[in-house]
Amino acid sequence: MVNTPATHSPPSVRLRRGLLAAFLFALFMGAGPGLYLINGYAREGGTILGMPALYAWAVGWCAVEAALVLAAYLLIWRKQPE
């Protein structure tokens, strides 16, 4: 049996942290200050894929969040003991 160095995180911990960081990033971009990146364009009447820019931005980041919850379910939660 090989001892893992103390500084090396087990994959599940790294995965958990990675998903959490990605989730927080999606929140920050979607419903937080990331909105400033798109707001000027939206105010001028800009569109993304034919949708008003803010609408598309909300759909996109919400899809990212939902996908991250799905990933957490498949990769982490399901493997937890009862």
Partner: protein, 557 residues
């Protein structure tokens, strides 16, 4: 936009009454069925034997989460403010994740130690503190009552819309209008099936109401897009929105990114740990049940919002733009006549367009079904909150402080009396709001929602400490909660009502500024968590073995 232009209110005939009648009979039937399947124990009445499976758990959590705000308040805010409030939807995947992350630990501890209410767990962790138990019960009360009030109001609005020409109902010399009849019918019916069958009836009716709600939300969106000529025409029409309605911070200037971010994180957390949801975690059969419920919640609900009721709110913003009258933003005459009637946008839009689109016969049935789903949204939240309030006041107040020697039977009766009194009290508050046009605390459904959530948010530091951190103390928890509750209270109109505007002008200026920047609950939470941490630093924590036992029960890994 084929249907636009013919805007006369259509006579829907007896169909809404028939659909509503069938729905009500079904609810009472489920209430009776729940009663027949129940056992006599208190735990069974409040937690349905802790054996609820995935379908029931997922739908009862969703139905409890989505109140009249889902079908009225939130689309109303989008109609009023435009695309800025769309970002509220990002709180849904957060809430879904919380169901698993917090819910599974709450369930495990609850199962291991036989807890029924949030205060059972929190007070036990902090050494059985009576003060803390009462504070947690108070937060439950402060959350539940505004929520029940807004559900009852929704019943009134619905009745007004469905039966605009109905004459008043005269009972013992007093004439009750459509609004009053609607509020009474919704509250009495809800009260009845909660009384009869407890959690089992509440959860079963929530399943039906949840399905109705989800399909109603999507149907409403679909009907709006069809009425506006299809997807392409719909999005082209949205280009007509004025710049302030298609960008941040919205028409009223209320929705800054920081405020939305704090709502998405902290309002989600607060809503998912309110007493009704907390008890649903206790009632879940297993961790797997909560995992799957979390996933269903996070994947299904955002779609119902983004492609359902939010589509209606934006469509209405184009078709019937609100107007500024004497410095006050008012809805279009087709939607409502006062600043409090933005909430009626979904009901008004459907009534105007669906019968024209599908023909009067099928259209009227479709509208009736969707309007029943508005009622379902209200009832499914009112029932859960009434039921939770009954548990909180019975177990955390009556059983602990007033009649510790009470038998299980006596407690069951007290719990039922609580349900009746809370219903009547909420009805009285609705009446008070309607008879005083300037009584702002009850003006808009959505503003009631944020105040209620603000109070619930004050449970968060304790819950997180108890489930994960375990470094707080009883004194820290008590003083933190008192501070947080007081801060949230300052954001409500009640200090001004109680003390007068001269006394409160300074802090209403401060809270006004803060309220524009951040979520109310978040402001209280910052003070709460700071006081909690500071006081905990200098006071004695619970014994180490007590903390270790709690940690094992929360997460046996």
């Amino acid at each position: 936009m084929s249907a636009i232009g013919t805007l006369a209110t259509l006579d829907m005939g007896p169909i809404p009454v028939v659909v509503l009648g069938l729905y009500m009979v079904m609810l009472i039937g489920l209430g009776v069925l729940g009663y027949l399947r129940s056992k006599t124990s208190e735990e069974d009445y409040y937690l349905a034997g802790r054996g609820q499976g995935v379908l029931v758990t997922a739908l009862t959590i969703m139905a409890t989460f989505f109140s009249s705000a889902a079908m009225m308040g939130i689309p109303g805010l989008i109609y009023k403010d435009g695309t800025a409030f769309l970002f509220f939807v990002l709180n849904l995947p957060v809430s879904g994740a919380i169901i698993y992350l917090l819910g599974s630990r709450i369930r495990r501890i609850g199962q291991a130690r036989g807890y029924v209410t949030p205060a059972d767990m929190l007070a036990d962790y902090y050494g059985g503190s009576a003060v803390l138990r009462l504070l947690v019960a108070l937060v439950g009360f402060l959350y539940v009552i505004p929520y029940i009030v807004m559900q009852i109001k929704a019943g009134g609005y619905l009745a007004q819309r469905l039966f605009p020409d109905a004459g008043g109902l005269i009972v013992m010399g007093h004439e009750y209008g459509a609004f009053e009849v609607g509020t009474i019918v919704l509250s009495v019916l809800t009260m009845l099936y909660v009384l009869i069958g407890g959690m089992r009836s509440v959860a079963w009716t929530d399943v039906i109401q949840g399905l109705l709600l989800l399909s109603g939300m999507l149907l409403a969106g679909l009907a709006t897009v069809m009425a506006m000529g299809g997807v392409r025409s719909y999005f082209e029409a949205l280009q007509q929105l004025p710049p302030e309605a298609r960008s941040m911070p919205g028409v009223s200037g209320a929705w800054s990114p920081w405020k939305l971010l704090t709502i998405c994180i902290f309002a989600s957390l607060a809503t998912m740990i309110q007493p009704g949801q907390w008890m649903r975690y206790y009632a879940a059969k297993s961790t797997k049940t909560l995992q799957r419920s979390a996933l269903i919640f996070a994947l299904v609900l955002p779609g119902c919002f983004l492609f359902g009721v939010m589509v209606v709110g934006l469509g209405a913003r184009v078709l019937y733009p609100p107007a500024m009258v004497d410095g006050i933003l008012l809805p279009h005459a087709m939607i409502g006549s006062s600043a409090g009637e933005f909430d009626q946008v979904v009901v008004a839009m459907l009534q105007q367009h669906v019968p024209l689109l599908l023909g009067v016969g099928i259209g009227t049935i479709a509208v009736s079904v969707i309007l029943v789903s508005v009622m379902a949204a209200s009832m499914s939240t009112a029932d859960s909150n009434l039921h939770a309030l009954s548990a909180v006041l019975t177990r955390d107040v009556y059983d602990r402080f007033l009649r510790p020697q009470a038998s299980e039977r006596e407690r069951a009766w007290f719990g039922r009396i609580v349900i009746v009194v809370a219903t009547l009290f909420s009805l009285w508050l609705v009446g008070l709001g309607e008879s005083n046009a300037g009584f702002q605390p009850l003006a808009l459904i959505a503003s009631l929602m944020f105040v209620a959530i603000g109070f619930s948010c004050q449970l968060l530091p304790l819950a997180l400490d108890c489930l994960f951190v375990r470094r707080g103390t009883k004194a820290g928890a008590i003083w933190g909660m008192i501070s947080g509750i007081l801060v949230v209270f300052l954001f409500t109109p009640f200090p001004t009502l109680l003390l007068g505007s001269e006394v409160t002008s300074t802090w209403t200026g401060i809270t006004g500024q803060l309220g524009r920047l951040f979520d109310i609950g978040f402001c209280g939470l910052v003070v709460n968590a700071t006081v909690f941490a500071l006081v905990s630093r200098f006071t004695t924590p619970p014994p180490a073995e007590h903390i270790a036992a709690f940690a094992r029960d929360a997460d046996p890994r």
